[in-house]
């Protein structure tokens, strides 16, 4: 069985077919890119995978489990993490607390043990300390030390993107969905992110599926590419092949 598989996925909103008959497979340890013009259905595809939308037809398999009718929090628990195109952070909390929320699934403190957090030796106290250590590793990994205690609402755009990436890493996913990770970033920030994505795959062993518009980055970073337009697959394959495919050129550059 494959690591991650999408089969004949279809979803329409009213009369608009956002996705029709999309299929692809991702192997463990791959960096897989989804490209396509605006409104092609890329984010809809991610929303189906992470359980926010329920597809009309088709199946999604992850680690030999069918996941297309699971709830989003259940899918997170199964090991699929994601980031959002328009950053979705907890704006009133600081960087540390945002990433700490990513540890939610690994923490056990409930209402009662929370109320009885008296001293650092109480259950909740110990847990708060242990998981803050874990978060610190992520902060180090992404070089976010300078903004650890800053409310994320006040951070610059690129930094907020990194905090969101950090939060998704805190869930320790096996499969990470990145929705336009370097949109709106400066050239330097993009360069850093390029290394981060490689490190996430190589050091943490996380498989990555990403949506990206920066073609240089996509061609450089990904092992394979899926090109979609109007909710349909145009082509799928290695970067060199996709790059030269006439329909991809047509979708991006228009007809002659």
């Amino acid at each position: 069985m494959t690591f991650f598989q999408v089969q004949n996925l279809s979803l329409s909103f009213g009369g608009l077919a956002a996705l029709s008959d999309v299929s692809f497979e991702v192997d463990k340890g791959e960096i897989y890119a989804v490209i396509g013009p605006n409104g092609a259905g890329k984010t809809t595809l991610f929303n189906c995978i992470s359980g926010l939308y329920r597809p009309d037809q088709g199946r999604i398999h992850f680690n030999d489990r069918r996941i297309d009718s699971e709830k989003p929090d259940r899918i997170a628990r199964l090991g699929i993490g994601r980031t959002f195109q328009n950053i979705e952070l907890f704006v009133h909390l600081n960087t540390m607390e945002n990433i700490l929320l990513g540890r939610h699934l690994f923490m056990r403190t409930g209402l009662f043990r929370g109320i009885f957090m008296w001293g650092r030796r109480s259950f909740a106290g110990k847990e708060e300390i242990t998981h803050r250590r874990k978060v610190e590793e992520i902060i180090d990994f992404l070089n976010l030390q300078a903004v650890r205690d800053k409310p994320v609402g006040m951070l610059p755009y690129g930094t907020r993107k990194l905090v969101e990436l950090g939060r998704s890493l805190a869930v320790e996913p096996d499969l990470l969905l990145l929705d336009e990770p370097c949109a709106g970033m400066t050239a330097d920030e993009k360069q850093d992110l390029y290394f981060h994505i490689h490190d996430i795959r190589d050091i943490l062993g996380t498989t990555i599926v990403l949506i990206e518009h920066d073609m240089n980055m996509v061609m450089d970073i990904s092992n394979r590419i899926l090109a979609v337009n109007f909710g349909k697959t145009i082509t799928e394959g290695v970067p060199e092949m996709v790059q030269r495919h006439p329909d991809v050129l047509k979708a991006y550059l228009g007809e002659d």
């Binding site: 989003p72 959002f84 979705e88 909740a124």
Partner: protein
């Protein structure tokens, strides 16, 4: 500059000796209060403490989870009637009846939380408002709850301690209020509270990191209702007599106003907001007795506002003060406090 040395300091209650000192000073002050002030002010303090309990719970729901409720008078009523019914009909001691009634209230909170999963903002406000109104109607119609006649509170005893006076009741109330305040503070600093905040700030992102939104939204309603239930049970003993007409829509609105005037999403805001508005509620009734201003206000009221000749100027003053606070600082009293603190920290710049 103060440096953090370990992670526990992030969630520590008393981050420095200064904080601990002020907390102990406050406790001592509260302990000595009934010994130095008139009995009436002990009653005022009791009234404040009960509102503080409700608003602490309401703040967990409104301020931290981002849900709204205009039905907290309903929970308050369930707590009050529940406690009295358990004591009168089942002959349970107060110390068992109060938490049990609050748990029943929490159950109702959980039930109200279920439709809340699909509703937001103004729609949720109306749904909860409907709940609040229904509860008093149902209680008023059922003979077992005393119907329109109301219920009398039995004598209040804990073990062999009989609480006859306001002062004795004051000490009981303080213990409960402070414990519940510390509990609320610990909830928002740990996992459950963070999940509440996550739902408030970005509920979709919260789901994708594994927060069960259904569970935590209903839990927030249940916890909030538990606080209102405890407060309601205690309020029954402040009044010594309860009837459905006490738990009006106006009461729900006052609870929400206390929460907002204090500053949503802040513990100190909830406490100060509840204290200020309960104080105003009781004290503005005497505004006409003030020298000079009183007579002047009364004449204004009679000339311009009240047709019947009954003076209603205290409500107008009340409203004006609320409008003033909210215009000055949308974050309420808590926001004002932050501004003052910042001013002194950066003074003279």
């Amino acid at each position: 500059m103060k440096m953090k040395r370990n992670y526990y300091e992030d969630v520590q209650m008393f981050t420095s000796g200064v904080v601990l000192f002020w907390f102990l000073t406050l406790l001592t002050g509260l302990f000595l209060l009934p010994l130095v002030v008139k009995n009436y002010y002990v009653y005022v303090a009791n009234y404040m403490a009960i509102n503080v309990i409700v608003v602490l719970g309401l703040n967990l729901l409104v301020g931290y989870t981002g849900q709204i409720s205009l039905g907290h008078a309903g929970f308050f009523a369930i707590g009050a009637y529940g406690t009295l019914m358990l004591m009168v009909k089942l002959h349970l001691p107060f110390i068992v009846a109060l938490p049990l009634a609050a748990l029943i209230t929490a159950g109702f909170g959980f039930l109200l939380g279920l439709p809340a999963l699909r509703l937001e903002g103004p729609y949720l406000a109306i749904a909860t408002l409907g709940f609040g109104l229904t509860i008093t109607q149902v209680i008023g119609r059922l003979e077992i709850f005393g119907g329109r006649e109301g219920l009398h509170a039995p004598d209040l005893t804990i073990g062999s301690w009989r609480l006859d006076t306001d002062i004795e009741f004051y000490y009981l109330l303080m213990v409960i209020t402070i414990s519940l305040a510390l509990a609320a503070r610990n909830i928002v600093k740990t996992r459950v509270g963070r999940a509440f905040i996550a739902i408030r700030d970005a509920d979709i992102a919260a789901q994708t990191i594994g927060v069960n939104v259904v569970l935590y939204k209903t839990l927030a309603f249940a916890v909030s209702a538990f606080y209102a239930g405890i407060a309601g049970g205690l309020y029954a003993f402040v009044l010594r007599f309860i009837e459905p007409e006490i738990f009006t829509l106006m009461m729900s609105i006052m609870f929400l106003a206390m929460c907002v005037v204090g500053g949503v999403g802040s513990m100190m805001g909830a406490i100060t907001g509840a204290c200020l508005l309960s104080w105003m509620d009781l004290q503005l009734r005497n505004i006409l007795n003030l020298p000079y201003i009183g007579a002047w206000l009364e004449s204004i009221s009679k000339t311009y506002f009240s047709i019947t000749g009954v003076s209603n100027i205290q409500f107008i003053v009340f409203g004006l003060i609320m409008i003033l606070i909210m215009t000055l600082e949308p974050l309420g009293l808590f926001g004002l406090w932050i501004r003052v603190k910042k001013y002194w920290k950066t003074w003279p710049f």
